[in-house]
């Protein structure tokens, strides 16, 4: 097992690590398929309200490649198709029947696997609604099946610090996971399986399959960060990546010919140690989150997720909900206090003297100001970018300089915005720059 070393990243100890017990949640009344957590997609609806759908019926596809289907994770009736502003598709909601009827696909056994051409295999996965679990760096778009990737990274840990533990996700599914790896081998010879060092103990049954251990500093387990630290030449930039659960579901789909509907989710809130929850993909947020104080932010990754409407459903790629409290109101002379209870990665509050578990609320702690070139963003960036200089290049519309400075290596971990004392939305500016560049390239 190889290791990568990473000194920069998020070093605070957060409270609220989920418990390693697993509970199964009751069957939800509705499930949803969100279009918001799928990057770059231009969805094209394939169903209408009140249509009957089976588990595995395509609900919408991607206009850029209409063979990529997003399928229903349950059997029932299309209850509602929710649009946002400018008729942007937000989600398709399905009210569930008591029993599942599956759309049946041809199963692919491990013996068949070597016989099928990889193009046909990709088409099969696209129809089944699981191809999109494979994504392509640097834009993190759906993998391009026409291209041959230089390598595929299997990221066992999810996007958030408290994403589901891979040891629990892979519990009793090692065989499927291994099958999944052999599927990936059909697309590329070089497959890297990466896990956090502190996940390794529970991952013992899969140990022989793990090839890379990454340190326990967020975001060392992010595919972009891993790639930055292992790549040796420019052509590796177009690597593909996939999550642990995505790979297992891909394998389950191929083996059974049915769309797998289970997913594992963690919910974090304050000091709670909630168990891992096994539920149906696309479950309603309210079912998962339980009660939460008004004014809380619900996110799918406190540093790199998105805000979740409490009435929405879990997205295709989302498996963590963080419930972040609102601030206690404006604090009098807040900037002059010693700050024993103010977690910071800087050394400007007394809290930095103690290595305690900390909690952070969902507020800015200050107001936006001009960049003062303090380099806090550079000092925390896991891929050695200088976000302040890239931000200035992008604001000045100089995409060339931004690219030269390594913009596309950015792993969108959110740490530059997290640490910025001027509260500049660096992550958004960099992400927009990358997205604009990707859109440009696609033509």
């Amino acid at each position: 097992m190889e290791k990568i070393h990473l000194s920069k990243g998020f070093t605070l100890k957060l409270a609220g690590l989920p418990d390693t017990s697993v509970i199964r949640l009751p069957r939800p009344a509705t499930v949803g398929v969100s279009a918001l957590d799928i990057p770059h997609i231009r969805p094209k609806l394939l169903v209408k309200e009140k249509d009957r759908v089976k588990t595995g019926t395509p609900l919408f596809c991607d206009k850029r490649d209409t063979s990529i289907h997003y399928v229903s994770p349950g059997t029932g009736t299309v209850k509602k198709i929710v649009f946002g502003r400018r008729r942007r598709l937000l989600e398709v909601v399905i009210s569930l029947d008591a029993m599942d009827t599956f759309v049946e696909f041809d199963p692919v056994s491990s013996k068949d696997l070597s016989q099928i051409p990889s193009g046909e295999l990709a088409d099969h996965l696209k129809k089944g609604g699981l191809w999109q679990t494979l994504r392509q760096l640097p834009a993190r778009d759906t993998a391009d099946s026409a291209a041959t990737p230089p390598l595929i990274i299997v990221c066992l840990n999810g996007n958030d610090i408290f994403s589901p533990h891979p040891g629990l996700v892979l519990q009793d599914k090692i065989r499927q996971f291994e099958f999944g790896l052999s599927v990936l081998k059909r697309f590329c010879d070089r497959v890297i399986v990466a896990a956090r060092t502190n996940s390794l103990a529970l991952l013992a049954p899969a140990k022989h399959l793990i090839t890379l251990a990454v340190p326990d500093i967020y975001p060392a387990w992010d595919p972009g960060t891993i790639l930055y630290h292992i790549k040796k030449e420019a052509k590796e930039n177009a690597a593909w990546y996939i999550g642990a659960e995505g790979l297992v579901r891909m394998a389950q789909f191929l083996e059974t010919g049915r769309y797998p509907v289970d997913t594992m989710v963690t919910v974090t809130r304050g000091n709670d140690k909630k168990p891992h929850m096994l539920t149906r993909q696309g479950s309603p947020v309210r079912l998962l989150a339980g009660n939460f104080p008004p004014g809380s932010l619900i996110t799918t990754g406190r540093l790199n997720g998105r805000i979740k409407d409490p009435d929405a459903h879990l997205g295709f790629f989302e498996n963590t909900l963080n419930i972040l409290p609102d601030a206690q109101g404006d604090e009098m002379f807040g900037f002059m206090r010693p700050g024993l209870n103010k977690p910071t990665v800087s050394k400007a509050f007394l809290s930095c003297l103690f290595n305690r578990e900390v909690q952070l609320d969902g507020t800015l702690h200050g107001e936006e100001r001009a960049c003062i070139n303090c380099s806090y963003c550079e000092n925390i960036c896991p891929v050695d970018l200088m976000p302040n200089f890239i931000m200035k290049a992008l604001v000045g519309d100089d995409i060339e300089e931004a690219l030269e400075l390594g913009l596309l290596d950015c792993s969108r971990c959110g740490l530059c915005s997290f640490t910025c004392p001027s509260k500049i939305e660096l992550t958004r500016i960099l992400s927009r720059g990358m997205d604009a560049h990707h859109k440009d390239k696609q033509g």
């Binding site: 930039n237 540093l303 805000i307 900037f335 103010k342 809290s351 200050g366 003062i372 690219l403 290596d409």
Partner: protein, 386 residues
């Protein structure tokens, strides 16, 4: 409810866009956020944010200035006592010094904030915290005898020409406090250079005396003994019991401030250590040059370090992140060259006894170039991804 909060809520409407004092909105906003630290909800990821903000950032700089400020007040009183031939006790010296120093600080803050508010009101942006530091740094670089109208002129120049015409905090090329000082230095040389007036020695005239850096030994005697004769022994220079500008006399207090800045990582240690290294090495080189006996070339690194405003400048002025380079190698070079240029100006340039102000301003101008070179180098090291 908190009574102060009530006042702000009562006044809120008048200062909003629809109210009668809409133009003064930024002033209201600055006052309100001074009392109540705002913490709006994050609308964009990441959703958790560090507690450090610019208010805290600048407060730490102010905190690091407290030792030099209080010692400066004390020393001003103490020096004026000495000049009258009295030895004052600590409190009398401190109070009489504060009586001289506080008006200078009040004028600096008052006039400076006037310009800040004016520009903020016209440009409709919030008042930046950066001026909290500028408004304190500038008076500390002035001799206590400076006429208050010159303080007002200086801070006006520093804020308007040094900062606001570039677009405000974060966009200025030169350190505004040093720009202000340079303006006063070149415009009113009589009050500023060479000899200092010891504050309050006499109601009308004051007494003049040379600063340490203007001293040169004559007739082959050593610089050290001449300095010592005039009260500038190394220990006096280190502890700061010498006449000079308000904040810069005590090397010890500057070092305490520098330590606060370095420990809290608010000031970049690379600049401070690089500067001290540059000064040491250059001073040593001159020390070993033959034929310099009796001049400051012969002074050696310790005297160069403790005399004049070098430590004050390198700790508080050079570490201004906006006008310093934004890359780490750039900061080392920047700091080193400030130390180097300070000694060069002190030793090799007969026009200026002190060099640190000009050294820092000069390197401010070169900071973007240093950054550019470092960026080019870093780009060449990266595996391209375009």
């Amino acid at each position: 409810m908190n009574p102060i909060k009530k006042i702000f809520e009562l006044l809120e409407y008048d200062f909003s866009d629809a109210g009668k004092f809409a133009k003064l909105g930024p002033l209201f906003d600055a006052t309100k956020t001074f009392f109540f630290l705002p913490s709006p909800k994050t609308g964009l990821g990441p959703f958790i944010r560090d507690h450090l903000d610019l208010k805290r950032y600048m407060s730490v700089v102010l905190l690091s200035l407290m030792p030099v400020l209080f010692f400066g007040m004390y020393n001003t009183g103490y020096q004026s006592g000495l000049a009258r031939g009295e030895t004052l006790d600590v409190w009398t010296a401190f109070l009489s010094g504060a009586w001289v120093v506080l008006p200078i600080i009040i004028v600096s803050y008052g006039v400076g904030f006037f310009w800040e508010i004016l520009f903020a009101a016209i440009r409709r942006h919030p008042i930046s915290e950066g001026f909290l530091v500028t408004g304190m740094l500038f008076p500390l670089t002035l001799p206590p005898t400076i006429p208050l109208w010159q303080v007002a002129m200086g801070i006006s120049f520093g804020v308007v020409i040094g900062k606001e015409i570039f677009g405000g905090t974060g966009r200025n090329i030169l350190n505004p406090a040093l720009t202000a000082r340079a303006f006063v230095f070149f415009s009113y040389p009589v009050t500023m250079s060479g000899n200092v007036w010891v504050a309050g020695a006499d109601a009308v005239d004051g007494i003049t005396g040379a600063t340490a850096l203007a001293v040169n030994a004559e007739g082959g005697s050593s610089l050290f003994s001449t300095l010592s004769d005039q009260g500038f022994s190394l220990s006096n220079l280190f502890f700061g019991f010498v006449p000079g500008s308000i904040g810069e006399t005590s090397a010890l207090c500057c070092l305490i401030g520098a330590a606060i800045l370095m420990v809290t990582r608010i000031g970049n240690y690379r600049i401070i250590l690089g500067g001290i290294a540059g000064l040491f090495i250059t001073a040593l080189l001159f020390y070993f040059l033959p034929g310099t006996r009796g001049t400051w070339a012969d002074a050696g690194p310790l005297y160069h370090l403790c005399a004049g405003g070098f430590l004050f400048g390198v700790a508080f002025m050079a570490t201004d992140p906006v006008s310093a380079p934004g890359t780490d190698p750039g900061r080392w070079i920047y700091g080193f060259l400030i130390g180097f240029l300070t000694v060069i100006l002190r030793v090799a340039n007969p026009a200026f006894a002190e060099g640190v102000m000009l050294a820092i301003l000069f390197m401010n101008v070169f900071a973007p170039l240093l950054d550019h070179l470092v960026l080019k180098h870093r780009i060449s090291k990266r595996i391209p991804n375009v």
